[in-house]
């Protein structure tokens, strides 16, 4: 059935778009970073949904099991998760520096205080 | 023996699910922070414990049962500690254990 076939992908896209919306509308830097986190995690859901094989199991070889889910997207997403948290850490460090310099984390107030923008 | 274990685990899991739902409802409906914390720790201690115990009954005497046992002991010690830490911090920050008439949700 069509809905059951693609439901995972549509929900992943919905979450992606929610994260996107959070990034572009809210002015607070920390909220933006959390929205970015939402975005990246929804992409992970999309990839892992692609890897699933109906009737398969986790890709750890065990006696008596014939069908395994595709392990390649799992590897790619493992890397992506850790890189995502590294990016979030650097982003938060930059947010701390911005707070030290301007005294606020709101984009509008930073724009008002900064002469060059 | 098998059917007894199956029935016992179904009973444990059902009661655990019920406790979880009541804990969640309690977090919304109760008036004060400390009463809500009590509801949340019912979920932590009662629901998680009964679910894990029901799963242990279902898997018999295998290696996953031992792992579940470890997780159970860990949960039993760490969840009440977390609730204790929360309530201690709330008490230090000024929240009152007795609900006053003007208490906001």
């Amino acid at each position: 059935m069509n809905i059951g076939a693609h439901y995972n992908y549509w929900v992943a896209i919905f979450l992606m778009m929610t994260g996107f919306y959070v990034v572009i509308t809210h002015g607070n830097l920390i909220k933006k970073l959390i929205g970015l986190n939402l975005f990246t995690t929804s992409v992970f859901i999309l990839y892992i949904s692609l890897a699933k094989v109906r009737g398969g199991t986790a890709p750890i070889i065990a006696p008596g099991i014939e069908v395994y889910s595709n392990p390649l997207p799992h590897v790619l997403i493992l890397t992506a998760i850790v890189v995502g948290v590294a990016t979030t850490a650097v982003g938060l460090a930059l947010a701390l520096l911005i707070y030290d310099r301007y005294g606020t984390l709101e984009e509008e107030e930073i724009r008002l205080k900064d002469d060059s923008l | 023996m098998e059917t007894f274990l199956a029935w016992a685990s179904t009973l444990c899991i059902s009661i655990g699910v019920f406790l979880g739902i009541t804990g969640a409802v309690g977090i919304f409906r109760l008036p004060n922070f400390f009463t809500r914390l009590h509801a949340a720790s019912v979920t932590d201690s009662g629901c998680a414990f009964l679910l894990l115990f029901g799963l242990m009954l279902q898997s018999g005497f295998t290696v996953p049962t031992i792992k579940l046992c470890f997780i159970l002991v860990f949960f039993l010690i760490s969840s009440p500690t977390a609730a204790h830490a929360l309530s201690k911090t709330a008490l230090r920050s000024g929240a009152q254990p007795t609900p006053s008439p003007r208490e906001d949700r």
């Binding site: 995972n8 549509w10 896209i13 970073l33 949904s49 699933k52 094989v53 998760i81 948290v85 947010a95 | -």
Partner: protein, 331 residues
């Protein structure tokens, strides 16, 4: 049955995402993002991605939440401005979403075993990885052996992130222990007040570190590996820091030591590649490390997972120390 669990988890994910959008208090938003990561980890388990679920639970729910909380502890806890131009943004977002949904129409059905993704290189990994690499966990064998270069790049990325954070924020006020009382960590009375926490944490930290070592060395046989082990090991240290204070934690392992350990991890990984080249094979070709290709693969995977684990552990603790030594958080 699996479909119901899938649909329920996805619905909760959607509701959590909408709540993250609406709420203003940043503390609640951070807690919700932790819940979101945990729901994603559960979703990954139902979709048979156990390694990924492990990593997402450890990294997304653990480390990201801790770092976000440290940041709002040092800055401010409430979002003050209203969303700007919400209708226009909604329009853009809906248009993009519609285009993406139109793009998914051609995608294979969820769970289809005949999808193109399962036809090319994946069957070779599934069928032959046990003979070629020798480990039961196919994800570990792909991560460490077949796609070892990607993992080397990832380790360098983590190391670079640690360098960046230390370079950007640094460790304030830790160079000189001028104030002796400060250097002693938290005082006796404070420690007695937190009696329950102190005892429970002292009980748990050895178990956490032991579990991290278990995960590190059992990456071949079950879900696990260097990343998860490094993060769990780091969380043991973060636990210690939260209870006994940053000064005591920095005396256990100083930032200088951690920097050396991080560099050592990357060096170990790259060094294994150089060693294989010196023994006659290609870069990161573990077959030549020992007399027998399978033993060589085992040794190679063991060494590089060790390198990955040490780098991830030291970088996570370094980043946490850097965030915790900000003025707003020092007690």
């Amino acid at each position: 049955m699996e479909l119901i669990i899938d649909i329920t988890l996805l619905t909760f994910l959607g509701l959590t995402a909408l709540a993250i959008n609406r709420i203003d208090k940043l503390f609640c938003v951070i807690m919700l993002s932790g819940i979101y990561s945990l729901l994603c980890a559960s979703l990954f388990v139902t979709m048979d991605a156990v390694d990924v679920a492990f990593t997402e639970a450890a990294v997304g729910t653990g480390i990201a939440t801790v770092l976000l909380l440290s940041t709002i502890g040092a800055t401010e806890t409430e979002q003050r401005s209203a969303p700007r131009r919400p209708l226009f943004a909604l329009l853009v977002v809906c248009a993009t979403g519609a285009i993406l949904v139109y793009g998914t129409m051609d995608m294979p059905a969820f769970g289809d075993p005949n999808a193109p993704i399962h036809q090319h290189v994946a069957p070779r990994y599934v069928q032959q990885s046990q003979q070629e690499v020798g480990s039961d966990n196919i994800v570990t064998s792909i991560l460490s052996s077949y796609r070892g270069f990607d993992t080397l790049g990832e380790t360098v990325v983590i190391f670079t992130a640690g360098l960046s954070v230390v370079g950007l924020i640094g460790f304030r006020g830790m160079q000189k222990f001028g104030d002796r009382q400060r250097a002693a960590g938290i005082t006796r009375d404070e420690m007695e007040q937190h009696l329950v926490l102190r005892i429970v944490i002292k009980m748990f930290i050895p178990l956490i570190l032991l579990f991290a070592l278990y995960v590190q060395f059992h990456g071949d046989f079950g879900p696990g590996g260097g990343f998860q082990a490094g993060v769990i090991f780091a969380s043991g240290f973060i636990f210690y820091t939260l209870m006994f204070g940053l000064d005591a934690a920095m005396r256990v392992v100083s930032p200088r030591t951690l920097s050396y350990i991080a560099a050592l991890g990357v060096l170990l990984y790259g060094g294994v590649g150089i060693a294989t080249m010196l023994m006659g094979g290609n870069y990161l070709d573990y077959d030549v490390l020992r007399h027998d290709p399978l033993h060589g693969q085992h040794l190679g995977i063991f060494l590089i997972e060790l390198g990955v684990g040490t780098t991830v552990f030291s970088v996570m603790v370094l980043i946490f120390f850097a965030f915790s030594s900000r003025k707003g958080l020092r007690q």
